[in-house]
């Protein structure tokens, strides 16, 4: 059983997944941030592979990508850092990024090295289900990497069912039709969508992401989903605090 499956078999509620960009704010911050997240009580560590053209991301994550690339982050270095953090970190580690840097690294080489380094899953927003099934699924399965698909408020029930069937691990429910970043409290319309997802009784657990930025939004998401993903808000915190005081950030989100 992979660490993601192990987590979801043990914990059903209030799961906190935290996203940050590899190599941000400095190149050497990737490992200490992971270590601190584990100590502070996060459940999943989600690390972004920086890309020059992140079309699903809002300004905060775009900026962290630019900084990370200027710092010299790339797939090869990130995999070395993941290997390094695995000396202490036991939490599931998920890499999130766009397809192109992985294609250039070599998809099979990526799968093999990521798996060997201790990566449990990937989220590739610009890899649609049809491409996954056609080209990548076999490789991901062979190397025990769980692939997480996104669903959004405009995804039809039929398609959500298909995505559920193609998923092993968890589903990433995007909270609104939007790019990443905080937008204040969730609206009633968004809650209705969360409720709709909850009532589908999917085979896989789901986490809500995009716009989860504080205790209120996290708590709302957790009422319907197995947990939630915090990204832009954490990146903003890292930028303001030069990568420090991670515990205080987690405490400001996590439900006790």
């Amino acid at each position: 059983m992979n660490r993601i499956e192990e987590l979801f078999s043990r914990k059903k509620n209030n799961i906190l997944s935290v996203f940050y960009t590899a190599g941000f704010p400095t190149l050497s911050d990737t490992i200490p941030i992971a270590t601190e997240l584990e100590k502070s009580g996060a459940d999943v560590i989600e690390i972004g592979i920086p890309f020059s053209d992140p079309i699903a991301d809002g300004p905060v994550i775009q900026e962290s990508n630019n900084v990370a690339l200027a710092n010299g982050m790339n797939v090869s270095l990130l995999l070395k850092q993941v290997k390094g953090m695995r000396q202490t970190v036991k939490l599931p580690i998920v890499l999130m990024g766009y397809l192109n840097p992985i294609i250039q690294f070599g998809v099979e080489k990526f799968c093999a090295e990521a798996s060997a380094a201790g990566v449990d899953g990937v989220i590739l927003p610009d890899m649609p289900m049809i491409e996954y099934e056609r080209t990548y699924q076999q490789l991901f399965l062979r190397y025990h990497l769980l692939n997480t698909f996104l669903v959004s408020p405009t995804t039809s029930e039929e398609r959500i069912r298909k995505i559920d069937a193609a998923t092993k691990g968890f589903i990433y429910a995007v909270s609104s039709s939007s790019t990443t970043g905080a937008k204040g409290d969730f609206t009633l319309e968004q809650e209705a969508y969360f409720k709709r997802l909850q009532q589908l009784n999917l085979a896989n657990p789901f986490l809500i992401g995009f716009g989860v930025s504080n205790k209120t939004t996290f708590a709302t998401a957790c009422r319907y989903a197995n947990g939630a993903i915090v990204g832009s808000a954490f990146i903003s915190h890292l930028r303001q605090q030069q990568g420090r005081n991670i515990k205080s950030f987690i405490d400001s989100i996590k439900l006790v």
């Binding site: 890309f51 020059s52 053209d53 992140p54 079309i55 699903a56 809002g58 300004p59 775009q62 630019n66 690339l69 790339n74 797939v75 766009y98 397809l99 192109n100 840097p101 992985i102 294609i103 250039q104 690294f105 927003p125 610009d126 890899m127 649609p128 049809i130 491409e131 056609r134 698909f149 996104l150 669903v151 959004s152 405009t154 995804t155 039809s156 398609r159 995007v174 039709s177 939007s178 790019t179």
Partner: protein, 393 residues
């Protein structure tokens, strides 16, 4: 059919629809309906009437006598520069806005580099009374000021793309982000044969009127629909796709695409994608892409703001890979000199994009009977500042 898109949206190994789930319903809706919409009689009637009465089609196929003498071949110019708004771009925006209306969309967004596609989109939105937002790199807004003001006069909101390198690639990113945030009432009019399937095919179909007319006009001119050469410049590749379209399966017609070499293919300041690119995924399709070994997209360079895109359409990547189209390149200086040459031999000041296509005339050995068609994709009015700055005339 070997050069046409397959049922999965691929041209050989290129194409597809690599889009985030948030864009899936939009793109899927378009994929499901574009062919049936385009085949409707009412669509065709409206499209053809607008091309005729509003755009001014058919555009002339003009025999450039002095240019022909100089290069020792029969050189015809397909006068897309005479289209309303000054370039071929409007063929596509007319087609797409009619599709958008039939899909019930209320708002239009677009990206633009040099501003020609932005102006063509702003124009059809004014024509149809639809709200329009155009994303344009902040850097391009500064160097293409007249086109920014043309769009504003037409009632379009021009939004500067402030991310990345602040040029066409970033304007495209911002337009896609806008579309993610406005998934139901908005249609995105992509300006070239790029983006997720079905855009490359849809845009190529709307531009294919260029080669359709060339064939008919050549029958009148020379009694034969097939020339020996068709030459067109390639940024994303929409004018080339349109000029090549009906000749793709006519294998004895030599097709030549001309990319911008900037300051030289190996100078580090170039936009010659087939020479410098590798297969990758950007803006929703798998295609040839200028990128670093880490897979980060490289900012291309050309004196022409319409050619500095880091990729080419997946159709062109396929045509390059199969050898069906020969890709050449022209440097900034070669293009500028060719632009001045056409101005003085034929009395036509071409767009600098188009001047790249003219610049390869001196690089090809023609027989004196060869019939050569150059797609004169746009006029040079928008480029006067660049001509003036270059200064060698």
């Amino acid at each position: 059919m070997k050069y046409q898109v397959d049922e999965n949206g691929y041209y050989g190994s290129f194409g597809g629809a690599f889009i985030p789930e948030m864009l899936y319903p939009n793109v899927e809706e378009l994929r499901e309906h574009y062919l049936s919409i385009v085949r409707e009689e009412s669509f065709q009637t409206e499209f053809q009437n607008l091309l005729h009465d509003f755009v001014g089609r058919p555009t002339p196929l003009y025999l450039g006598k002095r240019l022909s003498e100089r290069y020792g071949a029969k050189i015809y110019l397909k006068r897309e520069d005479l289209c309303h708004t000054g370039a071929h771009k409007i063929n596509n925006t007319i087609g797409q806005i009619l599709v958008a209306q039939r899909l019930g969309k209320k708002k239009i967004i677009a990206e633009t580099g040099a501003g020609q596609h932005g102006v063509a989109t702003a124009t059809v939105c004014a024509l149809m009374g639809m709200e329009c937002i155009v994303y344009m790199g902040e850097h391009d807004m500064a160097r293409q000021r007249p086109n920014v003001e043309r769009m504003r006069i037409l009632g379009t909101k021009v939004v500067p793309a402030l991310s990345g390198s602040k040029t066409l690639k970033d304007a495209t990113n911002e337009a896609m982000r806008h579309w993610i945030n406005h998934p139901t009432d908005t249609h995105y009019i992509i300006g070239s044969v790029v983006g997720p399937h079905p855009y490359p095919d849809m845009v190529a179909r709307f531009q294919s009127v260029i080669s359709e007319e060339i064939k008919q006009q050549l029958i009148t001119e020379i009694g034969n629909p097939s020339p020996d050469y068709v030459i067109a410049c390639v940024g994303g590749g929409s004018n080339a796709a349109g000029a090549f379209y009906h000749f793709l399966n006519d294998e004895h017609v030599k097709l030549v695409g001309v990319e911008a070499a900037g300051k030289g293919v190996d100078s580090g300041q170039s936009a010659a994608t087939t020479a410098l690119g590798k297969a990758g995924v950007l803006h929703g399709s798998k295609t040839l892409l200028m990128q670093t070994t880490d897979g980060q997209v490289v900012e291309p360079y050309s004196i022409s703001a319409g050619l500095d895109y880091p990729g080419i359409g997946p159709l062109h990547a396929h045509l390059f890979e199969t050898g069906r189209v020969t890709f050449l390149s022209a440097t900034d200086d070669e293009a500028m000199e060719a632009g001045i040459e056409l101005s003085r031999t034929e009395g036509i000041i071409p767009a600098i994009e188009t001047a790249h296509a003219l610049a390869v005339l001196s690089k090809i050995e023609f027989d004196k009977d060869d019939v050569v068609v150059i797609n004169l994709s746009g006029r040079g009015d928008k480029d006067l500042d660049t001509y003036i700055k270059w200064g060698k005339y």
